[in-house]
Amino acid sequence: MAAFDFAPLIVLLPFAGFLVAVGAALTRPGVLPKGGALPGIAATVGSLLLSAWVALQVLAGDRAAETVYVWSAAPAAGVPELVFSLLLDPLAALMLLVVSLVALLVHVFSLGYMNDEGETGLPRYYAGLGLFTASMLGFVVAGNLLMAFVFFELVGLCSYLLIGFWFREPGPPSAAKKAFLVTRFGDYFFLVGLVGVFATFGTAAFAGPESFPVLAEAVLAGEASARTFGFEARTWFSVLGLLILGGVLGKSAQFPLHTWLPDAMEGPTPVSALIHAATMVAAGVYLVARVYGFYALLPTVLAVIALVGGFTALFAATMCVVKREIKQVLAYSTISQYGYMMLGLGAGGYVAATFHLLTHAMFKALLFLGAGSVIIAMHHDEDMWNMGGLREKMPVTYYTFLAGSLALAGIVPFSGFWSKDEVLYEALIHGLAGSPAVLVAYAMGLLAVLFTGFYTFRMVLLTFHGDPRTETARDPHGVGWSVKAPLVVLGVLATTAGALNAVPVHEVLGFPPEYLHDWLAHDGGQSAFAALTSEHYGELLKTQAGYASAEVSSVAAGLVSLALALVGAGAAVVLYRGPDPDPHTEKLGAARTVLYNNYYQDEYQAWLAESFVRPLARVLDGVDQGVVDGGVNAVSSVSLFSGRRLRYVQTGVVSNYAALLTLGLTALVVAAALVGGWFT
């Protein structure tokens, strides 16, 4: 169990990096070389190595769910104690690797993006990155829902701080506020759900026989009881599941709480890559996967998850089609891709969704860092219509970006093809076998593939192909090794990660093994962890959620989505190839305005906040001052003092007040004593 003993260090090392950077920022900002990047890099290297060690230990069959810190001890029987605990199992080990790897690469990339560009306030930047990395890793290893919520909120804080990094401009602070507020709205439901889980089960643990998913299963089987507040058990659990889902929708930027993510692009691009693409946004989806044993009991909630996911995938993909800024395309694309993961989870594809989480982290971090490289080259101009022809000038960025784009569009054999295909396949087979909601979600997800192919290649062509459309694009700024190295690492991973789980190939050839299925299926021979395996989830989906599987070839399903992706990509190539492409957006007619305005989602939310809630607050304030306080003043001037006497009282000197007060106090006590009859 040696590796597991060091597991807390995975979280604590980046936290130490944070403390070092804060200390430097407060005392001597120049004291750290590279503005604090080096401690951060050292810490994330340490976290990555320890994560790899933990993963090897998990591979060897070890699992752990242990309390590391008692936050609030139980003083009496029947009262839950609130603890911080670690849960180390295949899912957590996988996510630890993803988070620490991307965090490391983003730290390195920041040397090129922040340090070399002469930014000020670097210790603050690296402090934010360090705190974020620590909080995200803490979230990943969280062993119960309370701890998950704690770190869920902390990553939200870091997101706020880093989006608002350039606080002297008006845009970033506003975007930061919106990001925190919208996700806080989601977290409100999560917190209600969390409190409800405690009230219902008396525990919020994820693993073990006393964990709440296992208890819920037992309650539904009639083998245990829980406090369900007068509801039928499954109904009440569904309510709890939907409440927790509120936090998921906020963090993973799912409709209708997706509006903060495009604004969050105001932050530095490495932050977008780390927080708003690969990791923090994944926290919502990861949470559902983490408590999948609970969700698998609740068919209604699963249907909601699938529908929200499918809808978001399509809805966000359509908005990408008209965007001008490269980071905006990527932001809406991120929303869309998390929609696929939700679709996968809702459709019963636990492994598929986890797979897509993994590949997406790689290729979307790659695309954001590639966009960052382009933005450096373009002197911080993000408009794709000012780019063009960057292919020759920056080949490393181009080829890695292309690898990421092929993965995003879902072109075989790049990683995104395998994972998105598997998500859609799971939705199809479960949908066909009698789950119409899932089938509808599948249809939306499938249609989104077309749009994804289109917007991805529109982005690639506008940025890298054709003739340069501005002076800047003709003579771009060079980028150094610290930018190229992370791109190459992620480029290789985005190309090859699909081999982890090439289901259609396995179906035809019988090899390679479906590594990820195997990884997530086993409990390592420890029965306490049997309830956290994909095998168990499959069982629950069948028996509790009533999911059946239709017989469909994964090869055929894969060919359908591949064909759609190619059609979309082909359409983009036809429209936007050539030295000087035309925008073509006017052909969309009225739809263009709607798409440019993001379906007016931002407008109605801003209206709700600014034109409804704030005026309501002002009205209440008027009522408070006029009626409530007015009443108080009226009472006091009528019964206690006449207006004239009040003026007299107010014009005295301080010693008079002291005398008056003392007298008043004495009179009060004497009067009360007389009423009480003490002097008789």
Binding site: A73, G78, V79, V150, A176, K177, A609, L620, Q650
Partner: protein, 506 residues
Amino acid sequence: MILAALMAVTAAAALVTFLVPDEYAGGAAAAFSALPLVGSLLLWAGFDGRGNALVDGEVAFETVSPWLTLGGYEVSWHVGLDGVSLPLVVLTAVLTTLAIVSAWSAIDERRSQFYGLVLFMETTLIGVFVSLDFLLWFVFWEAVLVPMYLLIGVWGGPRRKYAAIKFFVYTNVASLAMFIGFVALVLAAPVQTFDLPTVAAALRNEQISALLGLSPGALRTAAFAVMFVGFAVKVPVVPFHTWLPDAHVEAPSPVSVLLAGVLLKMGTYALLRYNFTMLPETAAALAVPIAAVAVLSVLYGAMLALAQEDLKRIVAYSSVSSMGYVILGLVAYTLYGVGGATFQMVAHGLISGLMFMAVGVIYHSTHTRMVGDMSGMADRMPVTTGILVAGAFGYMGLPLMAGFAGEFFVFVGSFASTTLPFAPVFTATAMFGIVVVAGYLLLAMQRTLFGPFRLDTDYEVQEAPLRDTVPLAVLLLCIVALGVAPDLLFGMIKDAVVPILQGGGL
């Protein structure tokens, strides 16, 4: 004896401070206030009490000596500490010292009188929290008003007279109501003493007779109601809150720190000690209206905070909102509910103290508190801004800070309450306050701290000196420490809450 010594030292410090020349008064007061601070920390370290002081408790540092007899009723000097009162004594000592240090910049006239009054107020506040005899307690309870009245009325802003008189009259009338209510209960109970544990035992066993034509049940309800209203003014609970913003706006910042940080807790502390400990059945019977008032305080206070343009009014109204959670926790009558409410008293004391202090630091540099008068202060005051942002997130209930711990305990306790009908509905509604608080604090921060620098007053703005930022940093550390390790205080709180709850549960 040790508590008497603590209070005597503090009172002596107050007297000496009155005599110290103005230019040394600040330093002397800070040095003197270190005595009760160290004393209270020693009490915390040496605390050996168990259970609740009023119900089956082993009271720590207890002293009982007969004082006088009033109409056959014994009044005694009965002081002592349990897990509920000790955290509040520590809070008082910590905040007083920090408020004194923060006043070095803020107060520049009649300094020795100012610091003397602050120390005198500390004496009376400690008296409120340690007294276990009603009449003794009531003397301290009333005595707190005198220094506070003078601190607002002499050192306050332009409308200080109005605010001070409003504060004094309002809370004094409330005290009268509460006094009558409690004395009526004592007269109807089979006791010949004002000793609180004795009275509590009698009342909890429902051994009271009819009085003045009221049946025992009606008397309990009536007494509960007037006592509740009397304490609710102090908390304050909507709709008795309107004295608070006026008092805060006019009071100098260090006084606001103590007003929000400690004085409001007198109200919730008294509610816990009297209403909820002595009349649990009545509290349960009235649970729905009380919870409604609590939810109203949370949401209405938060909405009012959203409408304010003055930073101090924002923090003042958010206090109304936060104290609503305390009421909710009390009425839930579960371990985490009542314990969380007590913890929230301390947490809110520290956080609101930090916020008022930080607003004071900004005011001292800019000479304005209006949100619209400034923007981009982060550029000129990075350290103050950093601490203010951290404090604001504490107010929003960011995990691993004290506010989250207090609110989370209250929410867990109240959601699971069996005393309160529709507990999940009340809890979930009140919890929406965590969204509104984020709304108004983030909006205010965005407008004042971030964006391009602009200031509409003619002052050079630069980073505050260390003597202003160190108290802020100390408070922030306390807030984080209690958020990471709430059991530093919550352990003894839970122990003291268990006996008053009949039965277990969350």
